[in-house]
Amino acid sequence: MPKIELNDFINYWKSSMITEIDGQLSNRPPGGSGIEVGGISGVDYNSTLIPWCKGNSVSVDQRTLDPYRQIFQILIGKARNRLTLIDQGNLKDPMLNSGLDFKDLEALYGEAQARGSRKVVAGDFSDKWEKAEILFVNLLRGKHIQLFENKNTHAKVIQEELVQQLNMGIPEKNWAAEGDEKWMFHGICSFLKKKHKHGAHLRINESYGWETYIRDRWGAPGGIPGIIAGNLTRKHVDTPTMNIPLHFVLAETLARAMGSMQKTEWGKNQSKIRRDMADNALDHPLKNRINLNTFYMLFSKHSAAHMADSFFLRHTDDKTSARYELIEITDSNPKQWEVKFEPEFLRWRTNQRIRSRTEGVP
């Protein structure tokens, strides 16, 4: 299921964030759908991307997913710093420290290969590094990252070679291979290690929608007189154009998709529950609610009865989670309630149903 969700994301991201200008693919301008620059409107997050977040936000033990969220946080944080410096007119510093490098990974995950002990063979790659590699492979496949061979030179040739190998399925084929053929010796982590001394790093692909996302999330919102939408030169406390941390949900979904590769898919039952809830709500005469007894029973059906109530409290902690409103049914005896879902959550399922009808994918 997370793989289908990822495919949906890829399509939603491309259609929402990217547009064609003079035959070239280009970012939409920051500031949201109400802004228009040179005839090109800003991003409409409400139609597909925010609903996708609401449908994919999971509440499994967040620690399980943290490493992936952190990698995204570093990639986004460094790109944001770079763009801030550019907005401030500092044209030298942006070349420095603008991506995630080997040292960052070591700080996060420790050493890549074991030194050897009674239980671990010397040279074995650590599980965390393998997870990072799978993440990078998926990000590169989706055009979300770029490889840089030194402080400011795009490693175009190496990246193209790697992409070719990814398209041929080499990482999956050679993942468990023995000896030199093993993918970990040839993949993205290996590139970072080999070229570390020259300043090799990974950057989030700003020209593939991420610059606009960063400016919409941390920059000036549209409509402030005298300030260009998305400008990062100073701190803004107003509600941003995009107030949902989409990059965390993407990190979680990627992690879940990778988990399914390793036969440990997290949040599987929660996905089923959310899907069933949305389907039941769309079948209700008002198309947006279910009876509270049904709500509890759906959690029980998927062995998660103990989690049902805490879903009402989740939004405090997690801006990406769907909001549930409890409404008492007037004059019911014994007293009964309905759970009303926010429109964005239901739109996630409606979008899926439309896609399923047009493409035949469940």
Binding site: D61, Q62, R63, D66, R69, Q70, Q73, G77, R80, N81, T84, L85, A107, L108, G110, W218, L232, R234, K235, V237, D238, P245, F248, L292, N293, Y296, M297, S300, A305, H306, M307, A308, D309, S310, F312, L313, R314, T316, D317, D318, K319, L326, P334, K335, Q336, W337
Partner: protein
Amino acid sequence: MRRVLPDNKPTLDYELWKSIVGPPSQYETVMKEDRHWLSQIDRGSSEISDLWMKEGRDRSTNDTTKVFDFISLGSMFDSWFEEIEYNKPDLEDRIEQKILSIDGAEKYFEGEMNSLLEINWIILGRVIGAAVANIGAAEKWWTRKGRDAYIALQFWSNLKREVVGQRYDATHHAKDSTILANGIDDDKWQEVGDFYRQIGFDPDSEILRSVGHRASSPFWQENHRPNRYYANPFAVIHQKSLFAKFRGVEDPEELSKEHGKLTLEVLGDALKCLRKRDDHDRFANFAIKIHGMCAFHIVRTDQIQQKIGLHLFSNLVARKMSRDVGGSNVPDIAKQLKTGFGLAKVLKILSDKNHKIIQWNAVEKEIVDNIVNDL
């Protein structure tokens, strides 16, 4: 299989408790000696324990009348819910006034003041879970010691130590809540982090909490250059309270064995303060204390601990807040929760008179069955 309420009608919990409360009132408080007895005889995971089956349990050692247990959120929480419902603007003003007098708070909560009115019940549940684990371990009921909370205690002290440098004095600086108010440089933050990452806890992951709910988040990294790190000032105040409690303990064990008890005492103190009607800032103080407890709790690794805290406690809160359910039957909770901890032991800890996080009552099985059959 049904224990108390029909599986397809769990929302009858509201009417059931309403009928039990009466008038006439049909419940009885489970007394201290019975709580102790039940905690001693409870065996196995909650869903298989004999105490919570559909047949009910004996009322006491010398009375075989069958009863069902019911638990409610401590009554002291009620006044908080009422304040939030009827007096929100005044509370908002009072908290904002309080913020002005706390070092570093204005900066930390800038643009996020509205988060201060919302308690993060899920994290509070985790705090309670870790405390219960620690108390039970001290009683030798189980082996889990609430290690999460202990690492958190150490981390906060080490962070202060790093910022103060050579002059650091543990006893003196535990009382100082201003040390972290001006932020933490990147190199110092990384240095502390490197040590903890080696033992499996990455402080950077906790920064992400500030995105969701600033009030209960432990740290925040400036979204703008120079991107300094800031600690939640409420968490630092909580640290001060914990150490003050520890210093007051007569004949204390080492802190690793005491922190659960101390944490629940601090929570109990916060709850008791809600009764002081002449103190107009009591709700603002309560919010600050609870946010501080939540922010202080930074390590979350133990899932069983989470079931106790997160699900048992937050489920009571959710039902109370959203539907005003005053009491929930324990057999149905035990069936759902499937916790590895002895549930009676947990209930004993949570209903302790020093904090009364929950109230533990019992109702005769026959009465309950009759009400349910009539609903």
